[in-house]
Symmetry: C2
Subunit: 265 residues, 2 copies
């Protein structure tokens, strides 16, 4: 399962403190998968999102499968740790809550969730020690109704209704990605500054004044009654750019060199 040493080793290998503890991550249960390639790409998508527990129910081409290894692009630890089951009921026996992914509506009275909502539920349940699993059916036909019946709830991805059939690994990716995002604290937007410092307002004002002095000299800020709004507009351009200290120095160099050239220096 995801809380094993193996999983932690992978998560820790990045050396980033931003990685959340993925304890209690759901098991991915692939039922009757037809192509080894798809099992491999699904394993890759899982590991991309920090999931490591793969369960296979009666894969058509047997197991282990060389094509799965080739397609996994290095997600070997997921394939090596995969467990093989004869039936879906066996595969979910030790789990507490099971979700079935379906592309089409079934004539079944069962709650249907978006992947995002299911991920939020799984995150919340994992914190209480609940073990979750998500079922994915064979490539062409999807889950058999009997397998859907094993599940507590259904996950349905709200896709283009005219073209909603997802590749198996793509379906696994969306569930795994939503699981990861539900525990992710990455800022939605950031400006990675490296070792640069933001410009001070004084630096910025000196830049503006330098530019405006030169523009006054060439008569750009004309006529006088329009000067205030022209200055405001120019200043706003550079204000929006969230300039760094070094960038202000670069721009002042640009202004100085253009001006010196003009003066014939």
């Amino acid at each position: 399962m995801a809380g094993t040493d193996k999983s932690r080793a992978v998560e820790d290998a990045g050396g980033s403190g931003a990685v959340s503890d993925d304890g209690g991550a759901p098991a991915i249960v692939l039922i009757g998968s037809q192509l080894g390639e798809n099992i491999g790409t699904a394993a890759r998508a899982m590991l991309n999102c920090g999931l490591t527990e793969l369960r296979l129910v009666a894969p058509r081409d047997g197991w282990p499968n060389e094509k799965a290894v080739a397609a996994a692009s290095g997600a070997d630890m997921v394939l090596d740790g995969a467990r093989l089951f004869d039936t879906a009921a066996d595969a979910v026996a030790d789990l507490n809550i099971v979700y079935a992914t379906t592309a089409r509506r079934r004539d079944m009275l069962k709650t249907v969730l978006t992947p995002r909502r299911a991920a939020a539920e799984m995150r919340s349940a994992a914190g209480q020690g609940v073990r979750a699993g998500v079922l994915f059916g064979p490539e062409r036909k999807g889950l058999h109704n009997d397998d859907v019946t094993l599940a507590d709830k259904i996950i349905e991805v709200p896709l283009n209704p005219a073209f909603s059939s997802l590749n198996l690994a793509q379906a696994v990716l969306i569930v795994a990605y939503e699981w990861r995002m539900a525990g992710d604290a990455t800022p939605a937007a950031s400006l990675p500054h490296g070792h640069t410092q933001p410009a001070s307002k004084q630096d910025l004002l000196h830049l503006f004044e330098h530019l405006e002095r030169e523009l006054d000299e060439v008569g750009f800020l004309h006529p006088p009654e329009k000067r205030p709004s022209m200055v405001r507009n120019l200043r706003n351009i550079f204000q929006r750019a969230d300039l760094r200290e070094q960038e202000v120095r670069t721009l002042r160099g640009v202004i100085a060199d253009l001006s010196n050239k003009r003066r014939g220096r």
Copy 2:
């Protein structure tokens, strides 16, 4: 959405404010893609999410590409409408805002967004007639820094840092999926009832009383001082199930038949 005339969006560009059928969906720009298969699976992922505008910059194996068609699993309209460009600069020339997807940090002062935030921004901008595009680099190396420089902002998927390299189509899927979800109004959770009616509270109380009558007769609700809490617990089980009218009738049949059998009828 499916059915959109894929060639129209570009021809209509020019600030007319005309809203395309897919609500100003972003163009997907694949730069230097190596494998036709990946272009095909990317096209499938796009159409799954209702995106139709594909732009290709110098695909390694030329264009059109039979392997792309085979891998697209029916997303032909995306491939048929794909436009070919020699350079990334040409491919983005008519766009207003461009995002670059990267798996690794660049030494560049550029805002980094999660796919979710970028999708929200693109949805919001599309409403104002802004045309957006998202750049994806070659499979192994990712975008060249010069192509990243073309972009206004960077999209970085917050994945497992030890295994963050996404398959090309998977990267396209995440961006396209977030675009779709940003405009999706599917309820996070629902119980599709079909033609069934919810049970009335009276139906439910009759069911409870029926069950408790039979249980009193066999002495299950014993000792008397525990009867109230046992009854409450049993009722809560069925309350949680959000029963339908027909299901209450089924359960009453179950109780009746079990009881009749016991009575030897």
